[in-house]
Symmetry: C2
Subunit: 200 residues, 2 copies
DNA sequence: TAGAAACTACCAAACGTTTGGTAGGCCACA
DNA sequence: TGTGGCCTACCAAACGTTTGGTAGTTTCTA
């Protein structure tokens, strides 16, 4: 919660927690696992944190803010809706590619947070979903997009983007930017060929 | 694994496990929790199962087969690719709406399976992903769809469909069929308005 | 009267967390 | 230039509880 400068061992611990929580899940990762990962004794972890759940919160909070920081400027810009949406997808996938494990933990371990913290996190998530819904809304309002339910469409797009973290492999032939282009084309132009546009 | 007719209490146990595993996660659900949910003592659970993991496997296996049984006939039919894709999305969302908890467990708890069982499940998942990729491939091949990478598009569509389980609420104003229509419109026609088709 | 269904009692291990303590570095003060 | 006080970093051991699972026995029911 309180910023405390850079504490190397604490960062190392967080990094180990991200990896283990993604691999085994929060509840199946023991303090023993975490201690071994950073090379200290189980009890010594409490020199750095007050409780196991603090690690989970820090990871999820950080991940959520990465997404908000990446997409909020895009949503606030003055480009056409289609261009905003394209850039938002690109921004999301870029974060997702660089911080895959964090984002998987964010999505999967919401249920492992305490009620208070879960509510705070859900509020941030709602804000994030609102960005995508808002861009679709804007496109529909200005007539750039066809009539569509912005909430449903926003969730569909965000779903595809969120799922990306579960299958993307950086060692594959396509980059996150490649996938972002393919995604945006799909959402904006659709699959069905139309001779009047994009000519082939 | 071996089919054994209908065993009411065993079904009750499975149903309780689905609910608890979705709510709290597999590792945070104890045998005590399960026993209380079906009104027997902890040790008595082992009259119905050999190990806790059997419950997880049965749930995931059942969920995966529901999806395959729903979509495989669609993919094997002789309709145009766009129509197949529309029906596949409809079929997936129908299963997802009726068996939400099962599908969430299927997606979230893969990591909690033993290595052997996880591999078997991944094989089934690959088969399922192949159905969607195949439909896109077909559309591109026949020229019904524009040029696109079938694997990427298949995963994007499936991602949106899989994410559906995390936010769909049956008590909401829109049915799974409504969402399926909106999803299919998005994937097939895209968002950007085109005067030459669907005229408005 | 056999088998299914459930009980009680128990196990060894693991859990997250707390405790009391130590080693070494830094800094003010005499 | 020592030295006492405080800090960070960590250890080893123990805390009480819970874990998944087993064994042997009793109760219900067809």
């Amino acid at each position: 919660m309180a910023e405390a400068g850079i504490r190397p061992k604490h960062e190392e611990l967080l990094a180990a927690a991200v990896r283990l929580f993604r691999q085994k899940g929060y509840h199946d990762t023991s303090m023993q696992d975490l201690a071994e990962a950073v090379g200290i004794q189980r009890g010594s972890l409490y020199h750095y944190i007050e409780a196991k759940e603090d690690l989970l919160w820090d990871i999820m909070d950080r991940a959520m803010r990465r997404l908000l920081d990446a997409v909020e400027p895009v949503a606030a810009s003055s480009a056409p809706a289609s261009e905003k949406l394209r850039r938002a997808v690109q921004a999301h996938l870029a974060v997702a590619a660089e911080h895959r494990d964090e984002l998987v933990v964010l999505h999967v371990e919401l249920k492992s947070l305490s009620a208070r913290r879960r509510e705070r996190m859900l509020a941030l998530r709602d804000r994030y979903e609102g960005l995508f819904r808002g861009m679709v809304e804007e496109g529909v309002r200005t007539g750039e997009f066809r009539a569509a339910d912005p909430k449903t469409v926003g969730l569909a797009i965000l779903g595809a983007c969120n799922w990306f973290t579960t299958w993307f492999r950086p060692e594959g032939p396509l980059s996150a930017a490649d996938f972002a282009r393919a995604f945006a084309d799909l959402f904006l132009e659709g699959l069905v060929r139309s001779p009047q546009r994009q000519g082939g």
